[in-house]
Symmetry: C2
Subunit: 700 residues, 2 copies
C-alpha cells in the first residue's frame, strides 16, 4: 500500500489534534479535582502569579531578541536579500518566528497546568498516594501532549506549505533560540532560589525544606515551574523539532527519483506521528499498581511506550513498504536510549554503589563529597558516549547499503527513534516539579506528616525517573546533533552546487582548519556552562544577602510568630531580575563565536567546530547531569538515616554536594544540549554565507 | 655552511654532556652548603628515606610491568615476529627498555638532590631570602639539566645507532609508559598525604601546616618529592622525547631527496640541542634581584631563556641554511607558549579577579567556593585552546608552501619550540617542592618565625610560577599530540605502502568509524582522571582514619607533650601501599581501550580516537590544573587576611576548595597529558597491526 505526501500530512495533523484532545481531557480532569484548603490556594496563587510574571518578563525580552533575529534572517538568509530570491528570505523569517512562538506557547501551557496541578496533587495526597500520583502525572502529561503535538503540527504545516526542508531548519532555529534562553533563564532562576533557600534555611538555621518562614520558599517553588516545566518543555520541543529537521534535510537529498525522496519524507512524518500516538497511548494507560510504587509506574509506562512504538512502526513499514533497514536504525536508537537511561540510573540511584560511596565519603567532609561525586560523574560519561557512538556506527552501517546518503539518514532516524517517546519523557519530567511543588504546598498548608510522607515519596520517584529521562534526552540530542552535522554538509553541498563550487566530501581532521575549529568548538560548551553557573553564583549571593536581611529585620520571623510572613515577592524579584540579566550573554557568546569561526575559517572550520561542540558538549552535559543527580540522591540517602542521618557532619557535607550539583544538573548540564543544537542550526542556515565569505577561502 | 648528520649528533651529545656538567656543578654546590641543625637533619633524613623507599617499591613494580611490555614488543612490534624482520623487533624492545630506564634514572636523580636541597634551603633561609632562593633554584636546576640532558642524549643515541624514527617511537613509548605510572603513583601518594594532613590538622584541630605533631606531616613532605619532583620529571622527560619523536617520524617522510630529509633531521636535533643550551645559560644566570622578589627571578630567567633560544635558532638557521619558514613555526610555538602561560596566570594569580571572586564567594559557604572555582576553571580553557588551535593553524600554513608533508612537520616544530625551554621549566617546577619541603623543615626544626616568613614567600612564588609553567607544559603537550596524530598517519601510510594497501589521506569526521573513535576517545581522559581521583579519595579516607587513631591513642600527642612523636612511618606506608595499588588500573585501562578500538575499527577509528583524546584531554587538563591552582591561591589570599582571614568561615570554605583542587591540579590534571601521549604512541607503534587486523577492515 502506498500513502501520498498529502495523506501523511493529514495523518500527522490528525495525530497532533488527537494529542491536543488528550491534553485537554487531562487538563479538565485535573481542574475538576477537589480543592478547598484556603492556605494552599493562597500559596499556590503566589506561585502561579510569580511564575506568570517571570514568564511574561522573559518573553518580553525574548520577543525583542527574536524580532531582531527575524529581521536579520529576512535580510541575509538563506542568501543576502539583494542576491537571492526574496520569497525564500520571507519564508525563513516567518518560519523562524513561528518556531519561537510555538515554543513559547508550549511553555506557557505547561505553566498554566502545572501551577494548578501542584495544588490539586497536594490535596489529593490526603486521599492517598494513588490519586495524588495520578494528578501529578496527568498534569505533566498535559505538557507532554501539548509540546509534542505542537512541534509535530508546526513541522508538518511548515513543510506542507513550503515543501522546503530549509524552511523547517528556520522553524527549528526559532524553537532552539527560544529554548536556549528559556532554558538558561529558567535554569538560573530556579537554582538561584533553590540554592539560596537551602543554604540559609537548611544549613544555617536548620529549618525544614519548604518552611513558610523562609523568604525564598515561594521563589523556590516558582523556580520549579519556570525552570523544570517551561524551560524543559522548550528544550524538548527544540530537540524534537531539530531531529525532524535534520531527517528532512537529509531525506531531501536522497535517492535518485522523486518517488524515493518522497517515500523517505513520508517515512519521517509517519514515524514522528506514530511516536506521538504511542506516547498518547502510554500516558493514557499510566496508572499506579496496587503496591503503590510511583517509580515503577513511571518507568513502566515509558517501557510500554517504547514497545508500542516499535510495533506500530514495524506495522507501518510493512504496510507502506518502507525500507526495513531504516526501521532497524530507528529501533537501534530506541534500544540504545533505554541502555543509556539504565546507565544513568546506575550512577544516580541510591541502591547502587556510586551514591552510597559518595554518602560514605561525606563522613570525611565536603571536599570528599565533591571529589567523589566529580569522579563518578566523569566515569558516567563512558557508557553513554560509547552507546551513542555505537548506535551511530550501527545505524550508519545498516543503512549504508540502501544507497548514497542513506547512511547519515540512518543516523538521523536513530535519533528520531530515541526521541519517538518524547511525549512520554516530557510527561515524566513535568511530573517532577508538580509533585515537588505539591510537597511544598502540603508543608505550607499544614496538611500533616502523613501527607508529607506521600508527597516525599512521589517527589523522590520524580528524581529517580529524571535521571533516566535525562539520559534519554542527552542521548537523543547527541544523535540529533550528529545528524545535524550531516545536514550541515548537505546544505553546504547544495549551496556549492548552486554556485558551481566544488562539493566537499567530508571534514578531514588533518585539515588544519578543521582541527582549528575542533579545538575552539570544544571550548564553547565549557565557557557557556561556566557563564550560566557564574550567573547562578552571583545571583544566589544577592539572594542569600536578602534572606539574611529579612531574618534580621523582620521581627518574629525566625521564631515563627503567628501572622508574621516574609516578603516573598522580594526574593522572586531578585531571582527574576538576575536571571533575565544573565540569560542573554551566554547564548549570544555561542552564536557570535560560531559566526567568527565561520567567517574566518569557512565551512571546514565550522565542520570541526560543530564536532568539537558535540564532543565536549556531550561530555560536559553527561558529567554535570549525572554528578548533580548523584549528589542530590546521596543527600537524600543520608537524610534517610544512613551514615549518621540528618544533622550529622555527613549530612552537612552532602548538602554542600547537593548545592554544587544543583546548577550542574538543572542549569548548566541540560542547557548544553540546546546550546549545541543552536550552534548546529546556525551553521546549517549560514552555510551559504560561510561558503562565500571567509578569510581562509583559498585554504579549504 | 652545511653540517653533517654525524656532526649534529656530536653537537647534541656535547650539549647533553655540558648540561650534565652544569647539573653536577650545582649538585656539588648544593651539597657543600652549610648544615648543622640536628633536628632538620633528622626530619630531612626521614623524608629522604621515605622518598627512596617509595621510589624503590614503585620502580620494582614498574620494572616487572616494563618487562612484560618489552616481551610483547619483541613478539609483536613493529610486526609479529613470525612475519617481519626480527632485528627490528629487538631494536624496538631495547629502545623501549632504554626509555623506561633513563626516565627512571632522571626521577631518581631528582629525588637525590631534592631531598638534600630542601634541608640546605631551610638552613640558608636563616641567612636571608637570596641565598635560600639560590639553593632551592639550583637544586631544581640539577633535575632540569639532568632530565633534558638525558632525554636529548637518549634520543640522539637511539637515532644515531638505528637511523630509524620508529625506534625513537619505541624509546618514547618507554619514557611515556614509565611517566604514566610514575605521575599517577606519585600524584596519588602526594595528594593522599597532603589532603589528609590538611583535613585533620588544619580543619579539624586547627594546628598549623607542617606541625610535627601531625602524623601525616612527613608523608606530606615525601609526597612533594615523589609526586612533584620524580613524577613531574618523568612527565616532562616524556613530553620532550615525544615531541622529538613526532618531529623525527615526520622528517623521515619529507622531501624528495635524501639530502632534504637529512637536512630536516639535522634541524630537529639542532633546535633541541640549542633549546637545552639556552636553558643551561638561563639557569646559570638565574639570580634574585636586589628587591628580593623570587617570582620575578623565576619568570625573568624563563623569559631570558626564550629570547636566547629564539636568537640562537635564528643564527643556526642562517648559518646552516635551514628553512626560515620552519624557524617561523618554532617561534610561533614559543610565543603562543608564553601567551598561554600568561592566560593561566590570570586565572590563578591572587592579584586578578578570578581568585578574588572565589575568595569572596567563599563567604557564602564551600558550595560557592567550589561552584565559582569550577566556573572559572571552565572559562580558563578558552584562551589556551584557542591559542593552541591558532598556533597549529599558523604553523601549518607557514610551512605548507615548502612542500608536501611540511605542514604537519611545522606543527611538530611548533611543539618543539614550546618545549625548547623545558630545561628551565623543570628547574622552576622542581624548585617548588624543594622550598615547600624547606618550609616544613624550618617549621619542624624550630627555626623561628622570621625564617618561616622567608620560606613562605619562596613557597608562594613557587605556586605562582607553577601556573605559568603548567600552562606551557599543557600547551606543548597539546601541540605534541597533534603532531603525534600526524606521526600516526605517517606510520599508517608507510605500513600501507609496504603492504601494497591504499594510503589514507586523512580522517574524515563523516566516516562513522572516525566518529565512533572520536566519541569513545573523548571519554577516556575523563574516566582516567576519575580513576586517579577515586584512588586519592579512597586512600585519603584510610589515612584520615589512621591519623584519628594516632591522635586518640597516643597520649600527649595532641597537646604537644615533649618527647611524644607520632608514628610517621605508618602514614608513609598507607600512602605508599595505596598509591601502588591504584597506579596500574587507570593507565592500563587507557591502553586496553586503545587496543580494543584499534582492533575493532582499524586505523580510521584510531584516528578519531586520538582526536577525541586530544580534545577532551586538553579540556580536562586545563580545567583541572587551572581551577586547582585558583583554589590554592584563593585559600592563600584569604589566609593573607582577606574576606575574614584565617579561621573565618570563608577560610574554612576556601580550605574545602583547596582540598578539592589538590587532586585536580596535582594528580589528575597533569597526568592526563601523559595518558594522551601514551595512547598516541601506542597507536603509532601498533599502526601496522591495526591496519592488518580489525573487525571493520572492509568499511574503512
Amino acid at each position: 500500500m502506498r500513502i501520498s505526501e498529502n495523506g501523511i500530512f493529514l495523518l500527522s495533523i490528525a495525530v497532533s489534534l488527537l494529542s491536543f484532545g488528550v491534553a485537554l481531557f487531562f487538563y479538565q480532569w485535573v481542574k475538576k479535582q477537589q480543592a478547598d484548603n484556603k492556605r494552599i490556594a493562597e500559596v499556590g496563587g503566589f506561585i502561579r502569579k510569580g511564575s506568570n510574571i517571570f514568564l511574561k518578563r522573559e518573553y518580553a525580552i525574548l520577543a525583542r531578541f527574536a524580532g531582531v533575529i527575524a529581521i536579520l534572517i529576512f535580510l541575509f538568509l538563506p542568501e543576502p536579500i539583494w542576491s537571492g530570491d526574496m520569497k525564500k528570505n520571507i519564508t525563513m523569517a516567518v518560519a523562524y518566528i513561528l518556531g519561537t512562538a510555538l515554543s513559547a506557547l508550549a511553555g506557557k501551557v505547561g505553566i498554566e497546568v502545572a501551577t494548578i496541578a501542584n495544588m490539586k496533587a497536594a490535596e489529593a495526597a490526603q486521599k492517598g498516594i494513588r490519586p495524588s500520583f495520578l494528578v501529578g502525572f496527568r498534569g505533566g502529561a498535559v505538557m507532554g501532549m501539548a509540546v509534542v503535538g505542537t512541534s509535530l503540527l508546526g513541522v508538518t504545516v511548515v513543510y506542507a506549505l513550503t515543501g522546503d526542508a530549509t524552511a523547517v531548519l528556520g522553524f527549528s532555529f526559532g524553537a532552539s533560540s527560544l529554548a536556549l534562553f528559556a532554558k538558561a533563564g529558567g535554569g538560573i532562576f530556579t537554582k538561584t532560589a533553590d540554592v539560596s533557600a537551602d543554604l540559609v534555611g537548611k544549613v544555617e538555621l536548620g529549618i525544614p525544606e519548604d518552611d513558610p518562614r523562609n523568604p525564598a520558599v515561594i521563589a523556590d517553588n516558582v523556580g520549579d515551574n519556570v525552570g523544570d516545566v517551561a524551560g524543559m518543555g522548550a528544550d524538548l520541543f527544540d530537540s524534537n523539532v531539530a531531529a525532524m529537521a535534520a531527517a528532512l534535510v537529509m531525506a531531501m537529498n536522497l535517492g535518485t527519483t522523486t518517488a524515493d525522496k518522497s517515500s523517505n519524507i513520508i517515512m519521517v512524518f509517519c514515524y514522528a506521528a506514530l511516536g506521538l500516538l504511542s506516547s498518547a497511548i502510554g500516558v493514557l494507560s499510566a496508572r499506579m499498581g496496587k503496591k503503590g510504587d510511583p517509580t515503577k509506574a513511571l518507568n513502566g509506562s515509558t517501557y510500554i511506550t517504547t514497545v508500542i512504538f516499535a510495533v506500530l512502526t514495524a506495522a507501518a513499514t510493512w504496510l507502506f513498504g518502507f525500507e526495513w533497514r531504516i526501521w532497524g536504525a530507528t529501533a537501534i536508537g530506541l534500544l540504545v536510549g533505554v541502555i543509556i537511561g539504565i546507565a544513568s540510573d546506575y550512577f544516580t540511584n541510591d541502591n547502587k554503589k556510586p551514591v552510597q560511596f559518595v554518602a560514605k565519603a561525606s563522613k570525611s567532609g565536603p571536599a570528599f563529597t565533591v571529589l567523589s561525586g566529580v569522579s563518578y560523574g566523569l566515569l558516567s560519561v563512558l557508557p553513554s558516549m560509547a552507546g551513542i557512538a555505537l548506535s551511530a556506527l550501527l545505524a550508519y552501517n545498516i543503512c549504508a547499503p540502501i544507497g548514497e546518503g542513506y547512511a547519515m539518514f540512518g543516523i538521523s532516524m536513530a535519533a528520531m527513534g530515541m526521541l519517538s517517546i518524547v511525549g512520554m519523557i516530557i510527561s515524566n519530567d513535568a511530573y517532577g516539579p508538580i509533585v515537588d511543588n505539591a510537597r511544598g504546598l502540603a508543608e505550607m498548608g499544614g496538611l500533616g506528616d502523613k501527607v508529607l510522607e506521600i508527597t516525599d515519596e512521589l517527589d523522590s520517584a520524580g528524581n529517580t525517573v529524571k535521571a533516566v529521562t535525562k539520559g534519554f534526552a542527552i542521548g537523543a540530542a547527541g544523535l540529533t546533533i550528529i545528524a545535524l552535522l550531516g545536514a550541515f554538509m548537505s546544505e553546504v553541498n547544495s549551496a556549492a552546487g548552486l554556485k558551481g563550487l566544488e562539493k566537499i566530501t567530508g571534514f578531514d581532521i588533518m585539515n588544519p582548519l578543521v582541527f582549528f575549529g575542533l579545538l575552539v568548538g570544544a571550548a564553547i560548551p565549557a565557557v557557556f556552562s561556566a557563564m550560566l553557573m557564574l550567573g547562578v553564583d552571583k545571583n544566589a549571593q544577592r539572594m542569600v544577602a536578602e534572606i539574611h536581611r529579612q531574618f534580621n529585620e523582620i521581627l518574629g520571623l525566625k521564631e515563627g510568630k503567628k501572622g508574621v510572613v516574609p516578603e516573598y515577592e522580594k526574593c522572586i524579584d531578585i531571582a527574576t531580575t538576575g536571571a533575565l540579566k544573565e540569560l542573554i550573554p551566554a547564548g549570544l557568546m555561542s552564536i557570535i563565536v560560531t559566526l567568527l569561526v565561520g567567517f574566518i575559517g569557512g565551512v571546514h572550520a565550522i565542520g570541526g567546530f560543530l564536532t568539537g561542540n558535540i564532543v565536549s558538549g556531550l561530555l560536559l552535559a553527561l558529567f554535570m547531569s549525572n554528578s548533580g543527580g548523584l549528589w542530590d540522591n546521596a543527600k537524600k540517602f543520608v537524610e534517610a538515616g544512613n551514615e549518621g542521618g540528618k544533622g550529622s557532619d555527613a549530612h552537612k557535607a552532602a548538602v554542600v554536594g547537593d548545592t554544587v550539583g544543583d546548577p550542574f544538573k538543572d542549569t548548566a548540564g541540560p542547557s548544553i544540549n540546546t546550546q549545541v543544537t543552536v550552534v548546529s542550526l546556525v551553521s546549517s542556515i549560514m552555510a551559504t554565507l560561510f561558503l562565500s565569505f571567509n578569510l581562509f577561502r583559498f585554504f579549504g
